[in-house]
């Protein structure tokens, strides 16, 4: 099958089996290795990318279904000069440990924070289901996200369950 994938704003021609996962194509063909190949079953979230702005697991997405979709990987969320608010908060709170969960975490939580700008701690934990951090750095990640506050104006009130 021949199709054009739109990856991080650039058209990318693809020739091959349409059943291959987007993750395989990103990593093996295009060498965009930010999305990680970990569980391969959609559980861990290390391979999450955004499809038309919505986080999805790239290990379970066949490329043949993605013609015309806007695919955003961690390599495309910002450029080398700037960081997104979520990336800045993660940097400030020193949340990155081994780095395996980090790209998926950024793409998931950026979407969640856009839809829920003033989340509680419990809501953040629920939203992070499916982004497994094996270094167990969840609390600092949550602290970082809570620091963004409503519309980035300041810290939000923490409500512990």
């Amino acid at each position: 099958m021949v199709l054009t994938l739109m990856i991080n704003g650039d058209p990318v021609p693809y020739h091959g089996d349409p059943r291959r996962s987007l993750l395989e194509v990103l990593r093996d063909d295009l060498h965009l290795t930010g999305a990680k190949d970990v569980c391969g079953e959609g559980f861990c979230g290390a391979c999450i990318v955004q499809i038309d702005g919505v986080p999805k697991v790239s290990c379970l997405l066949p490329v043949g279904r993605l013609a015309g979709a806007e695919i955003t990987t961690i390599e495309g969320v910002s450029n080398s000069e700037t960081l997104t608010a979520v990336q800045k908060a993660f940097l400030e709170y020193d949340v990155v440990q081994c780095g395996m969960c980090f790209p998926g975490m950024v793409l998931s939580m950026t979407h969640f924070m856009a839809e829920n700008p003033s989340p509680t701690r419990a809501e953040l934990k629920s939203a992070m289901t499916g982004n497994i951090c094996r270094c167990t750095g969840y609390e600092r990640i949550i602290d970082a996200l809570l620091s963004l506050g409503s519309n980035g104006l300041g810290p939000v009130e923490e409500v512990r369950p």
Binding site: M1, D17, P18, R19, S21, G40, E41, G42, F43, G45, I48, V54, P55, K56, V57, C59, L60, L61, P62, G64, R65, S108, F112, S126, A127, T129, G130, N131, I132
Partner: protein, 282 residues
Amino acid sequence: MEIPQQSLISVTRVSQALDLLTRLGETATVMAGGTWVMREARERTFISLAEIPDLTDITLDDQVLVVGAMATHQDICNAVIGAPDLAALATAAGKSATPAIRRMATLGGNLCTRDFHSADLAPALLALNAKVTLETSSGRETLSLEDYLNTPVDRPHILHHVTVPRTSRRSAHVRLMQRQAGDYPLAVVSLSAAIHPDGTLHDLRIAVGSVEERARRWHALEALCDDQKMTSDSIRAHAAARASQDFVGRDAVDGQGWYRLRVLPALVAQAVSDISLTAQGA
């Protein structure tokens, strides 16, 4: 219809999918959200239903809920959240798997993937007395979800939509996992009933998922408890007495069969507690 020589075929009509399924047989598989076939069936030809109009439609009114087979778990949760009679479905759709999977996995995939034993939507819809409508080469057929799950339809078919009658009742969906979230449930109980002011449960329906290979109704427990005043403690006792007679627990890597049976009474009790609390406006 000429069969395209490719390994993923997107169809725009159900009739095209049926035609391909008939011609390709076991070498092809229907692809809905893809969350199962991408793991288990990569060698087959994918027949993608994603471009068929109407299959993602959800309609909800006072009488009935109709959900297209390609509606995702997230779509379903968004549509039914807040409806007391459909609370079991809202929980099943809104708590299963992970947020990213819920945006991809569909109703049709959840009900039709027979190798997946931990579906959440199946027990919830059994407890809500759902019917399924299938498209076959001989036309459209509607049957109860219970019959559909109990008796595999061997001939080529596409599950088109599910219909749930709306009634003045309460429902709950209780699932046990090893972790708080993100796992397959070890056992699931979905329950719905009309609750009389004196605490009597009327027209009780209980469904059990994840314990055996397929979700099914717990008719023996329903018969014992229907039209009776039931507390969470009394129904727990009935469930404990019946569980090992009525189910054969499934051994799997996430849990042993005996354990799935052992926890069932507590899940039933929790479900009754949940519907009693919502009936009291809690």
